[in-house]
């Protein structure tokens, strides 16, 4: 279950909000807005170097990353990669500590929603020149994921993939209930639930109170045209009408008996794997885990309950950490590594992910489980690039959603209470980061 735990806490495990204003430029002589390693030429022909490469691929995605790293080393005999893999939640706590102590890695992967925070803390350096050199531009990526890697007018991440929530459904149950098409909106979803119930599946859609409940709520807010946070990071707006409607709908699944009450951590997922429930919304990174479990399942985009299709998504991005002692050879080798990984990200689709580059994606995605979700890539929504937002969300929205789903408080009450708290924390963050 390591795989499960990893994601159970990958966002809540997000580290980081900061204290004290930070002028990016002029910090201890480097970092700031300058890039590492001088002019990048796209080739590395210097002496042999060993790169420390940090990532959090502890689950079913790990072997695919190892394979890619091995292949890279086979093609570059003067670059050795030493991978360090740890749980994401640990990763986000250790990375700032290591970089601050001058013992950071040479290259790494982190989630998109962490980039702004890490940039504001001077943990990572811009990679604009790399993007330019690779000839990467918004054309080859969906606009949302490409724009989200920019903080304070500098680019900090090179997207490797996008991964979103998906609707998994048990194909056997669907066949037994006579459902031919996966539901796409509220009406068809409701109909599917009723058919499943009629076919004897008592609780077809277990509603989690913890992970990934808040990601469902975020998706519902975006579907209804709302925004959970203001773009400038000054306030939380998830207690808006859209937010209340979303949480009310989630709770109604329990009230109307489609879900048992008090679903505990991960229970909805385990229940899906056991065939006890017919539908569950979860991340596409679970695809391999579900394949291994042998359950007859398929994936479809999350239905547009709120009106328009939209879904929460995140992305793994390559980054370059700030170095205490910059080493041009290592910096250039690291860039070569990132460039190669980006070019060869098709391999990564095997991990259930969707390659971020369209040129790569179009050639590998056909026939994969995640294909129907990849088609919806333009409907994927990311959290705004606001430093420190991750932990604020874990502290507030997650609690509100849990309270709402468990029926401990009305959706309005829970969301309003936590949005007030979130706004306070966000204001503090703005002050700290010199917003």
């Amino acid at each position: 279950m390591g795989k499960r735990l990893r994601f159970t806490r990958f966002m809540q495990g997000a580290a980081i909000a900061a204290v004290g204003a930070l002028a990016l430029a002029g910090c201890s002589g480097q970092g700031g807005a300058q890039s590492a390693g001088g002019e990048f030429t796209g080739e590395y022909d210097g002496p042999e170097v060993t790169l420390q490469y940090w990532n959090g691929f502890t689950g079913g995605d790990g072997p695919f990353m190892e394979q890619m790293v091995d292949q890279f080393m086979a093609e570059h005999d003067n670059i050795k990669i030493e991978s360090t893999t740890q749980e994401w939640s640990d990763f986000y706590q250790k990375l700032p500590a290591a970089v601050t102590a001058g013992k950071g890695p040479d290259v790494g992967v982190m989630h998109l929603d962490q980039l702004a925070t890490m940039a504001a803390r001077n943990v990572i350096v811009p990679v604009d020149d790399l993007a330019k050199e690779l000839d990467l531009s918004a054309d080859d990526f969906s606009k949302e994921v490409w724009d989200a890697g920019v903080y304070n007018d500098a680019r900090y991440g090179i997207p490797l993939d996008v991964h979103s929530l998906a609707m998994y459904y048990n194909t056997e149950h669907f066949a037994a209930a006579g459902i031919t098409e996966p539901p796409t909106d509220e009406a068809s979803f409701q109909e599917a639930l009723d058919k499943l119930k009629a076919a004897g599946y008592e609780t077809p859609f277990w509603m989690p109170a913890l992970w990934p409940a808040h990601l469902m709520e975020l998706s519902l807010i975006w579907q209804a045209g709302g925004e959970p946070y203001s773009e400038d990071g000054s306030e939380a707006t998830f207690d808006s009408e859209e937010g209340v409607d979303g949480l009310t709908w989630m709770r109604s699944m329990v009230d109307e008996g489609y879900s048992p009450a008090d679903v505990a951590a991960d229970a909805q997922y385990v229940a899906f794997k056991n065939g006890e429930t017919s539908i569950t919304w979860d991340g596409i990174w679970q695809i391999n885990d579900l394949k291994e479990s042998g359950i007859p399942f398929a994936a479809a985009p999350v239905p547009a309950i709120g009106g328009d299709p939209a879904v929460w998504a995140n992305s793994h991005n390559f980054f370059l950490p700030r170095q205490a002692k910059p080493d041009d050879n290592k910096a250039n080798a690291a860039k070569v590594f990132i460039a190669w990984m980006s070019e060869n990200s098709g391999e990564w689709a095997g991990a259930g992910m969707i390659p971020a580059r369209e040129s790569v994606r179009s050639s590998v995605i056909g026939g994969t489980v995640q294909e129907p979700i990849a088609e919806q890539i333009d409907n994927m929504r990311f959290l705004p690039a606001v430093p420190g937002l991750g932990p604020v969300q874990a502290e507030t929205l997650e609690v509100a959603v849990a309270d709402g789903v468990l029926g401990k408080a009305s959706p309005e009450e829970a969301l309003q209470r936590e949005a007030d708290r979130a706004t306070k924390l966000m204001q503090e963050n703005l002050e700290k980061f010199g917003g």
């Binding site: 980081i16 900061a18 204290v19 004290g20 930070l22 932990p391 502290e395 468990l406």
Partner: protein, 340 residues
């Protein structure tokens, strides 16, 4: 268990009475002329560790708590007592969740400590009898203690799951209510957390009690029998007084361990429902290590420490020795246990 060192400190303060407690030597006359720094030399290794890993961090922690501290940022403004004042200001963003977590810790401590003091004593008394298979049962009771909190937590999280867990399934087989939400509703979650903790750590206190029981001289029981004491009177007048010094240690140790509970609620309930089962340590870790508000987190830890110190003093006072009584021998296992 970061508390071990502190407990160790207490344990070394407990007087190691000479067997002839009455015969006090006159000061300044020692049988072998020892250099004044000899005892310090013996103490040196431990003192070094104690200074580096306990004293220095503690003092540094006070320093941190007076700042808006984030180690990744160059600027750490000094704010004086503001972090402390904020904890007592109901409108500040951290105070509500902090006091909720303190309440959670209090609830957990109040319910778990008595159980962890009494149940292991029963177990130890049983295990002190001789019966076939005794060693097997000793091992069985102690076994869960060797598991890590992650193992225990994950295992029980699945066992206690209200929809797919075995606990409710078996309760249902016996015709008992089988829909208790052990991990997502209070008070059931507290019953679960206390229950799991007792199951997990009962063995440790049992072993210490057992060692203490075996240190009580058999002559005392024989003398009591000759005087016609029944087993309750023996327990009351021989066993309990013999356990007194160890009781102080076990009580303080259990109190501090319970007050520092973190792993169980982090893994089994994840603080749910809402923040109800988030303990103080949980909240401090979230604040300091997740949100990087290390100044606030340090202030919280000192408030918690203050409460623990007050409680420890009260316990010492309750268990204090009456002056005229000779000091019974402290069982060696206590010291070993303390310095584990």
């Amino acid at each position: 268990m970061s508390t071990q060192t502190r407990v160790g400190a207490f344990a070394t303060e407990a007087p190691t009475a000479a067997s002839d407690g009455a015969a006090a030597r006159r000061a300044g006359v020692s049988p072998t002329r020892q250099k004044p720094f000899t005892p310090w030399l013996f103490l040196l290794p431990y003192l070094l560790l104690f200074t580096v890993f306990v004293i220095v961090p503690s003092v540094f922690g006070i320093w941190i708590s007076l700042h808006e501290w984030d180690y990744t940022l160059p600027n750490k403004p000094f704010v004086g007592g503001e972090n402390y004042v904020e904890l007592f200001d109901p409108n500040s963003v951290n105070s509500g969740s902090f006091w909720t977590s303190m309440r959670a810790t209090a609830i957990f401590t109040v319910f778990s400590v008595p159980l962890l003091l009494v149940l292991p004593l029963f177990v130890a008394l049983l295990m002190n009898k001789s019966f076939p298979g005794r060693n097997f049962f000793r091992a069985v009771y102690f076994a869960p203690y060797v598991l890590g909190v992650a193992v225990v937590g994950l295992m029980w999280r699945y066992l206690l799951d209200n929809n797919i867990g075995l606990v409710n399934y078996y309760l249902g087989l016996f015709g008992l209510p089988d829909d208790t939400a052990w991990t997502t509703s209070v008070p059931a979650a507290w019953v679960a957390l206390v229950g799991v903790t007792v199951w997990w750590t009962l063995g440790f206190n049992s072993v210490i009690y057992l060692a203490a029981l075996q240190d009580i001289p058999a002559e005392l029981y024989e003398a009591a029998s000759v005087d016609g004491a029944n087993s309750w009177q023996k327990f009351r007048n021989v066993t309990l007084p013999g356990l007194r010094p160890i009781l102080t240690f076990v009580t303080i140790n259990t109190l501090i361990a319970s007050a520092n509970m973190f792993g169980q609620s982090y893994i089994i309930t994840q603080g749910a429902p809402g923040r109800e089962t988030r303990t103080a340590i949980y909240q401090i870790a979230e604040t300091g290590l997740r949100n990087f508000q290390m100044g606030d987190a340090a202030a919280m830890s000192y408030v918690l420490t203050f409460f623990l110190m007050v409680i420890s003093v009260i316990v010492f006072w309750l268990f204090r020795e009456k002056k005229e009584k000779p000091m019974p021998q402290e069982p060696s296992a206590a010291r070993e246990g303390a310095l584990r």
